[in-house]
Amino acid sequence: MNYLEFEKPLSEIEGKAEELRALARGNKEMDVEKEAAALDKKAETLLKDLYKDLTPWRKCQVARHPDRPHCKDYIEGLFTDYTPLAGDRNFADDHAIMGGLARFNDNPVVVIGQEKGHDTKTRIERNFGMARPEGYRKAIRLMDLAHRFRLPVITLVDTPGAYPGKGAEERGQAEAIARATQKCLELAVPMVTVVIGEGGSGGAVALATANRIAMLEHSVYSVISPEGCASILWKDAEKMREAAEALRLTAQDLHKLGVIDRIIKEPLGGAQRGRRETVEAVGKAIEMMLKELTGRKPDWLIKDRRNKFLDMGSKGLAA
């Protein structure tokens, strides 16, 4: 278990309980269970307390937690017959974006998402979930496939943002993102999105211009990272707590603003403490969102998606 900075007191209690039990395993005479159970109880209370009212900055940290289920986990857990499809037919296959044909509840769909990787090797391979233009162009190609064969599109968003690199810029990062957003808006099939971790700016929008959008309870979705915002507006990257607060990037605020349609509850202590539960809850949400769209005519789906975005901005938040 990786502990976040604000979970440090928790790590101490849980560590102590673990130590006691380890000791008892080595010495059969010792009876530590009562003491350990008391610590467990204490830990649970603390966990509840910590997660009861997470600040926006803490939510950012939870959203980036390395042990959270990632795109690959959802695809493995929720889809059958997953057949990855690769490449943009132009330059490369970008591993920051994965996707392909699959069955969801036995029905064929196209699933696409950003994958961050889970250890050093896979993180580098996946470029930490930061896609280059070829990633977005692969997504465009897959969305087009879905459109032509009338398959719903399901996207899973989890990215710090599009990759700010030299080659990415030279090959038209901005254009690729713009075209991906445009492709989302053209789809004559249902499209649903779940923000499972970080929804990082334009790099997220490119895969999230959908009919229905859900967010996990502790995921975030923002125009800029709190650190980036802090360094521009506060001229101090250390002011990320204030920036996270000001940006209103939590699922709860986005729901109030009418930007997303539903919030998916996470287990106590965040998705990382109940990975299977979380994957299942996301599956349920996808199922419900798709249900709202099945049987709708192509024109209706396009219009519904357009109006959703045109109507955004009519609701504000209180101070």
Partner: protein, 317 residues
């Protein structure tokens, strides 16, 4: 000899004289250091006469030089919620807005107008970099949608001059949502079969580049304009290497296939007219000396003190 020098100059001169810019004021070209008379610079559309460096130009001055007789009418833009997030950094968002309004005399970072260029009806929108770095918030989104709707209604093309530091952070997620919203605007034009020309000016960055600014039927940039998604500083910090000379500049993008053309500001109007008339299947515009339009040069316009200031309709008769 040409249209611009004959009929537009009085308008530009009038703009400057009414602001009472003293004759002896100079601007130093940030590129070559040449001292330039304000009046001379304005007549040259804010382009350095020595090195051709393109400096910023306000939407109003640009439109004055672009439209026949310098005449254009503002298209109304629906006003969005003023401060949807109740955003506060070191200053409150409404305070920053007020400061920008006072500094520019404009109400927001985009101006949408309609008029004629060489008798070609167009709707035009220009982003104002001097207004909070031209940042794209809900107003800019509304402006682009209003521009597209007006173009569709009038069955005429849309020309959009982009310039932005990126998204309006103070509107958080709602500024980000302008990426899909403005893309819907571009779709409206496509469906109506109307041309959408995007002119990228210095600088066009971030979410603006990654939405409407890269979706033109024809993509033109002004020389040396910085055009990017991620800015050069961010990239240098990420990859820890120095970027090549001219990286992310208009000419570099042209070389990398991301643009159709790089066009000098003084040729922009004629080029736009030429392209638009072909795309609209109209006969060529009459070049050279056109008969004077039946208007007096607009000399005594009231200053654009109120953001609603509109060039009087009667001047267009």
């Amino acid at each position: 000899m040409n249209w611009i020098s004959n009929y537009v100059r009085p308008k530009i001169n009038s703009l400057f004289s009414r602001r009472e810019v003293p004759e002896n004021l100079w601007t130093k070209c940030p590129e070559c250091g040449t001292m330039l008379f304000h009046r001379e610079l304005a007549e040259n559309l804010n382009v350095c006469s020595t090195c051709d460096h393109h400096m910023g130009i306000s939407p109003r001055d640009r439109f004055a030089a672009m439209f026949d007789g310098g005449i254009f009418t503002e298209v109304e833009v629906p006003q969005p919620l003023a401060d949807p997030l109740v955003f506060r950094d070191q200053k409150k968002y409404p305070e920053r807005m007020k400061a920008a309004r006072n500094a520019t005399g404009e109400k927001e970072a985009m101006l949408v107008v309609e008029g004629e260029m060489a008798r070609t009806p167009v709707v035009a929108a220009a982003q104002d970099f001097s207004f909070m770095a031209g940042s794209m918030g809900m107003y800019v989104g509304n402006a682009i949608i209003a521009a597209a709707e007006r173009a569709v209604q009038r069955k005429c093309p849309l020309v959009l001059f982009a310039a932005a530091g990126g998204a309006r952070m103070q509107e958080g997620i709602l500024s980000l949502m302008q990426m899909p919203r403005t893309t819907v605007a571009v779709q409206m034009l496509r469906e109506a079969g109307l041309p959408y020309i995007c002119v990228l000016t210095h600088p066009t960055t971030g979410g603006v580049t990654a939405s409407y600014a890269m979706l033109g039927d024809v993509q033109i940039a002004e020389p040396n304009a910085l055009i990017c998604f991620a800015g050069p500083r961010v990239i240098e910090q990420t990859i820890r290497e120095k970027l090549p000379e001219g990286f992310q500049r208009a000419e570099y993008l042209l070389d990398h296939g991301m643009l159709d053309r790089v066009t000098h500001r003084k040729n922009m109007r004629e080029e736009l007219v030429t392209i638009l008339r072909m795309l609209m299947n109209q006969p060529p515009a009459i070049k050279g000396d056109l008969p004077a339009p039946e208007i007096k040069p607009v000399i005594d316009l009231p200053p654009p003190a109120t953001p609603e200031a509109v060039i009087p309709e009667k001047a267009a008769e």
